[in-house]
């Protein structure tokens, strides 16, 4: 299959105005939307006008002057990229006069360009090379002894790409990509005239500059000036496979560009409906973990966790797993074992794991890591709207007038979506940020929130109810919408509740620490500023009142009529690539796929007929309950796929105690993770590059993951689950994930229309996709809520039990950073450590000062649950009294600090509020040392005895 580059029409599609014009280009008539450039028109007709500074991911610029055309009745030679089509225009693009001009421009370009095509990294993949051929340049009469920009030093500071100014043609596509597509404005042109030069920040190396390494400039660069190191190393790709990124919930689609079996580069796919041709450092560059030497490729087992691992064959490991689970069930009862699905595996794999547990184990003891991030979203939105997912698609943000971001840091957690949000903000949309920290959205180059509400951690419900107070008491609510779409009585009750003086902004000011008039102004802006769109993250859900906060958000949206059309909605920014899918597939202990409760007889009998077993009608155990049951001795076996609960779940001591009490823990993952320290069976897993399947992103978009290389461990993850299932006598006969999706579609109404051939044709589908919505549902709740009438739920502020006191005077909240993902298992095994090698504790200058702490000092972080040490970062990003850290690096084990308090409805842990004390320290805590020793001990793999 030859490597075909995606067609580049040179300029973006025109903004639709409904009008179209008809013109002729080189004698061919064509009718196109008003505002389309002549260049794009010619390209759509299959013609080819030479271009170098034009690319359709950024606005036209008109600098290279290669694309000049003749237009009848207009003197001169306008650039086709910056000239829109007009009614009756007659354009000629291939006259001799134009050929002479184009050759003249190209002769100037090549008079200042190295002639080392044969040894250049971009040989065969360079637009300058192509255009020089296309215009027929045969000589450079200017000679090469004049002034030149060649011979400048290369900047190789970025771990993933090089910058060679000598090969730069000053087309500014990189600068414009950084400004328009990414919105970081890290690049500029330094100087003027002949000496102009692309410069990162103040002419420094890319790595130390403001660059966030999203790769947009490398993608936009027409020559070898900005080029991936891997391309220089192994050569240009020869084939491309479209797949979906396995990092965050944005669900960017990429072209995995291969050279034989070797992945050369991941380039964002222009037709990807979630990322529209953009990427971030993780998806674009940090895929090296797939071939990292830490990957375990052979199954291993051991009788006890104190012994070293013993490598065994697949058959032996699978048989051992099945027999152990059967043994434990026989000894301790059917409900004594369970399993955890992964939010990073595919929908098909997650479905099979919960099927293994329900059909194979015969109980509902299945949970997923969504428990610890967006389970409150599932509960809250299903209570109010009737479905457990976000209401919009990502494109919808481009129609928003007021954007309200609560407890989310998209520029770090969902960077590609944040870029689109920043583009909308630059177009004039207003922004309100509710977050204890001064995140980049509060203020960073070209972005400034109109209102920042720096509330104390844990007081979300008080703040949102106060906003509701303003909206109701000042009659800013959308009466018509409420009357038509919601339950009038419930609204009345809710309205009375929120209008009481105790819930006014003034009353809650002491609690939240935010000035009342700021809250009033923000509420008025959201209610009256046009399309109001709410985006929220784990800062909302990871609280003891997570579910109440989600419902309070839903209340605000319903009260102001901001649901059921483009540009509005309630949008959870879900953390992982398939956390939405994991929930959809029935990973929760109380429901089957499609959010139908296990006690619902009709649904259960549907599954019983399909699977030929009677199913347990009682909800199973959640992860914290499994661990409790384990310490009580009634839960002895656990199957964990693609999850590291020891590092990601709170209260590490509690998790460790639970795991230690079990007799058979089976871990299926890429690497020996922290949970594997307590495992008895390790089944090596496969990466998203090594298997087919689908992921569902945060906008309910189901997208294909396609195998680009053979799995190093021999099996795709779904094949491994099938092996275990068949070893337990379940007789599954899948030979391709499409069959699993067919089964899902047959059993799940909202997925009824989802089949691989449809996904191949449409590129992606947003569920519900069934007869009622054959082409999927970009925007939900149009005309009416899934549950019928929107339900207003009274949400009263109940302060968390996690209180600061003399022993623990500060509040810790946690989060993520751009360069790392979740527990860092993947990103720590890539060059991303160049940006964030260790977790740091952000502390306010005043809190640091009165503890004698300076920037970079080692500090001890202690809560009632445990203690760890890490280095301090003194910053005003956090408010006084609040400290912040990430949990990407196991050495710090930040979760030894987090407590066992959790959301009242879903037990989603309260990561965001932990009372702590911070004191100077001189190095790792004792616990950290013991933990490191234990981890080292348990990772030993016995050397294979000489083959008998």
């Amino acid at each position: 299959m030859t490597y075909t580059r995606e067609t580049d029409h040179g300029t973006p599609a025109a903004i639709a105005t409904g009008k179209s014009v008809t013109l002729t280009i080189d004698g061919q008539a064509v009718t196109l939307p008003e505002g389309t450039s002549i260049m794009r028109a010619a390209s759509l007709l299959g013609g080819s006008i030479p271009k170098l500074c034009a690319t359709d991911s950024v606005e036209s610029f008109g600098s290279c002057r290669l694309c000049l055309v003749e237009v009848e009745g207009r003197n001169g030679y306008p650039a086709s990229c910056t000239t829109p089509v007009a009614e009756g225009m007659v354009v000629r693009t291939q006259t001799d006069r134009l050929k002479k001009l184009r050759r003249g421009v190209m002769e100037l370009y090549i008079s200042d360009h190295p002639l080392d095509c044969l040894t250049c990294g971009a040989n065969g993949d360079c637009e300058l090379q192509d255009q020089a051929g296309a215009v027929g340049l045969r000589d450079v009469r200017y000679g090469y002894d004049g002034a030149t920009n060649m011979g400048q030093a290369k900047d190789q500071s970025n771990p993933y790409f090089d910058f060679d100014p000598s090969k730069c043609i000053l087309c500014s596509r990189c600068v414009r990509a950084c400004d328009e597509v990414q919105g970081t404005f890290a690049l500029t042109i330094e100087g003027m005239g002949f000496d102009s030069k692309v410069s990162a920040s103040q002419g420094e190396g890319f790595l130390g500059s403001e660059c966030v390494s999203c790769g947009a400039c490398v993608q936009a660069c027409p020559t070898a000036s900005l080029i991936e190191k891997k391309v220089v190393e192994v050569g240009t790709p020869d084939r491309a496979v479209v797949t979906t990124c396995a990092y965050c919930g944005v669900g960017c689609t990429f072209r995995a560009e291969m050279r034989g079996e070797e992945l050369v580069r991941m380039v964002p796919w222009k037709d990807g409906k979630a990322n529209r041709g953009h990427s971030c450092v993780k998806g674009r560059f940090a895929w090296g973990y797939a071939q990292h030497q830490d990957r375990i490729l052979n199954p291993m087992i051991r009788a006890s966790v104190s012994e070293p691992w013993r490598e065994v064959s697949w058959d032996e490991a699978i048989a051992y797993t099945a027999s152990e689970f059967r043994r434990i069930q026989a000894k301790y009862g059917t409900r004594s074992i369970g399993g955890i699905t992964s939010s990073r595996c595919t929908n098909e794999e997650t479905f099979l794991v919960q099927k293994l547990i329900r059909q194979g184990f015969g109980n509902n003891n299945v949970d997923t890591c969504a428990r610890v991030c967006h389970s409150p979203t599932g509960y809250g939105l299903s209570q109010t709207f009737g479905t457990s997912a976000g209401t919009q698609d990502f494109d919808s943000v481009m129609q928003a007038d007021v954007i309200l971001v609560i407890g989310a840091n998209p520029t770090d957690g969902h960077p590609v979506f944040a870029s689109r949000m920043k583009r909308r903000l630059r177009q004039g949309a207003k922004l309100i940020v509710m977050d204890p920290r001064r995140t980049d959205l509060v203020k960073s180059p070209h972005v400034e929130a109109d209102h920042h509400l720096p509330l104390r951690p844990g007081t979300n419900v008080a703040m949102l109810t106060a906003m509701a107070h303003v909206i109701v008491t000042e009659k800013l609510y959308d009466e018509a919408f409420i009357r038509e779409r919601c339950d009038g009585q419930e609204f009345a009750d809710w309205a009375d509740f929120v209008s009481q003086p105790a819930r006014s902004p003034e009353a809650i000011e002491p609690l939240t620490g935010v000035k009342a008039d700021e809250v009033r102004a923000a509420a008025r802006l959201y209610a009256t500023g046009g399309n109001g769109a709410i985006y929220y993250g784990l800062g909302v859900t990871e609280h003891s009142q997570g579910s109440s906060t989600v419902m309070a958000i839903a209340n605000l949206a319903m009260a102001t009529g901001n649901v059921g059309r483009e540009g509005v909605g309630v949008n959870p920014l879900r953390g992982q690539n398939n956390v939405q899918g994991a929930c959809d597939m029935g990973s929760f202990p109380h429901e089957f796929s499609g959010y139908r409760h296990v006690s619902d007889t009709a649904t259960r009998s549907l599954f019983e007929q399909a699977w030929g077993v009677t199913l347990d009608a009682e909800p199973g155990l959640r992860i914290p309950n499994m661990l409790d049951a384990a310490t009580d001795g009634t839960f002895k076996g656990l199957f964990v796929q693609g999850e590291d609960i020891l590092q990601s779940d709170p209260n590490t001591h509690h998790v460790a105690a639970g795991l230690a009490a079990m007799e058979c823990v089976v871990v299926q993952d890429l690497f020996l993770n922290e949970t594997a320290n307590y495992a008895h069976v390790f089944l090596p897993g496969s990466t998203f590059l090594e298997k087919d399947g689908t992921f569902t992103n945060a906008e309910r978009r189901i997208q294909r993951v396609r195998k680009v290389m053979a799995p190093l461990n021999g099996y795709a993850d779904w094949e491994i689950v099938q092996l275990v299932a068949n070893a337990m006598g379940l007789n599954w006969t899948y030979d391709h994930p499409s069959q699993i999706m067919d089964e899902i579609a047959a059993l799940t109404p909202t997925f009824a229309g989802v089949h691989y051939d449809r996904l191949e044709a449409e590129g992606s589908l947003q569920w519900p996709a069934n007869d009622a919505a054959p082409d999927g549902t970009p925007t939900m709740h149009i005309g009416g809520f899934v549950r019928g009438k929107g339900k207003f739920v009274v949400t009263d502020y109940v302060p968390t039990d996690e209180k600061t006191g003399p022993r623990f005077p500060l509040l810790l909240t946690t989060g993520r950073i751009l360069s790392h993902y979740n527990v860092g298992a993947q990103t720590r095994r890539t060059a991303n450590t160049a940006w964030h090698p260790e977790d740091r504790l952000e502390i306010h200058p005043s809190d640091a000062e009165n503890r004698g702490i300076k920037e970079g000092d080692w500090v001890a972080l202690k809560s009632r649950a445990g203690e760890t040490t890490l280095r301090a970062q003194v910053t005003e990003r956090v408010a006084p009294g609040v400290v912040y850290t990430t949990f990407h690096h196991p050495e710090t084990q930040a979760n030894v600090i987090t407590t066992d308090y959790s959301d009242w409805a879903t037990n989603c842990p309260e990561y965001k509020v932990t009372a702590v004390q911070v004191m100077p320290s001189n190095g790792p805590s004792d616990w950290q040392r013991d933990y490191a020793d234990q981890a080292k001990m348990s990772r030993r793999i016995a050397p294979l005895e000489a083959a008998e």
């Binding site: 330094e190 990162a200 403001e210 180059p445």
Partner: protein, 150 residues
């Protein structure tokens, strides 16, 4: 310098269109726009360091290194050339001991090109420390050299 910028933006506002006026003010205050000041300006106007660096390096007026104690801006444009400007330029470089576009070793004087001061009927002209001088001849150069030496 941080307080200066804060005081200035408090009086004039911090929108992006204030960048050139602020750069003029910073150069007026400190004599030149030091690389270390660029981040402060960027933060004050909520721009990226790249934005500010691109503007500082684009315009001839903004210096990134200190100028000489005296600055002689000699006009090189056509009207002054028609009145003997080229010869005066050579003489000035020789008399002041500094090449065009450079600052003398001892930091006493910078000789800089300027393309037209709008005194095109009375050239060759120059701005000497901001003061316009017309019909410059070797005698005028001597006076300038004396001033520089003082």
């Amino acid at each position: 310098m941080d307080e200066f910028i804060e005081g200035w933006t408090a009086r004039h506002g911090a929108t992006r269109d204030q960048l050139l006026p602020l750069l003029h003010a910073v150069q007026e205050e400190a004599g030149y726009v030091q690389d270390a000041v660029v981040p402060l300006i960027a933060r004050a106007l909520n721009l990226s360091r790249a934005d500010v660096h691109g503007v500082v390096t684009f315009y001839h007026d903004f210096r990134r290194t200190p100028a000489g104690r005296h600055v002689v801006k000699l006009c090189r444009a056509e009207s002054c050339q028609a009145r003997g400007g080229a010869a005066i330029e050579a003489a000035a470089a020789q008399r002041l001991g500094v090449a065009m576009g450079e600052t003398r070793g001892d930091g006493a004087v910078s000789l800089e090109p300027v393309y037209c001061l709008g005194l095109c009927a009375v050239g060759p002209n120059a701005l000497v420390d901001g003061r316009p001088m017309a019909r410059i001849d070797t005698a005028a150069l001597d006076r300038i050299a004396a001033e520089v030496a003082a």
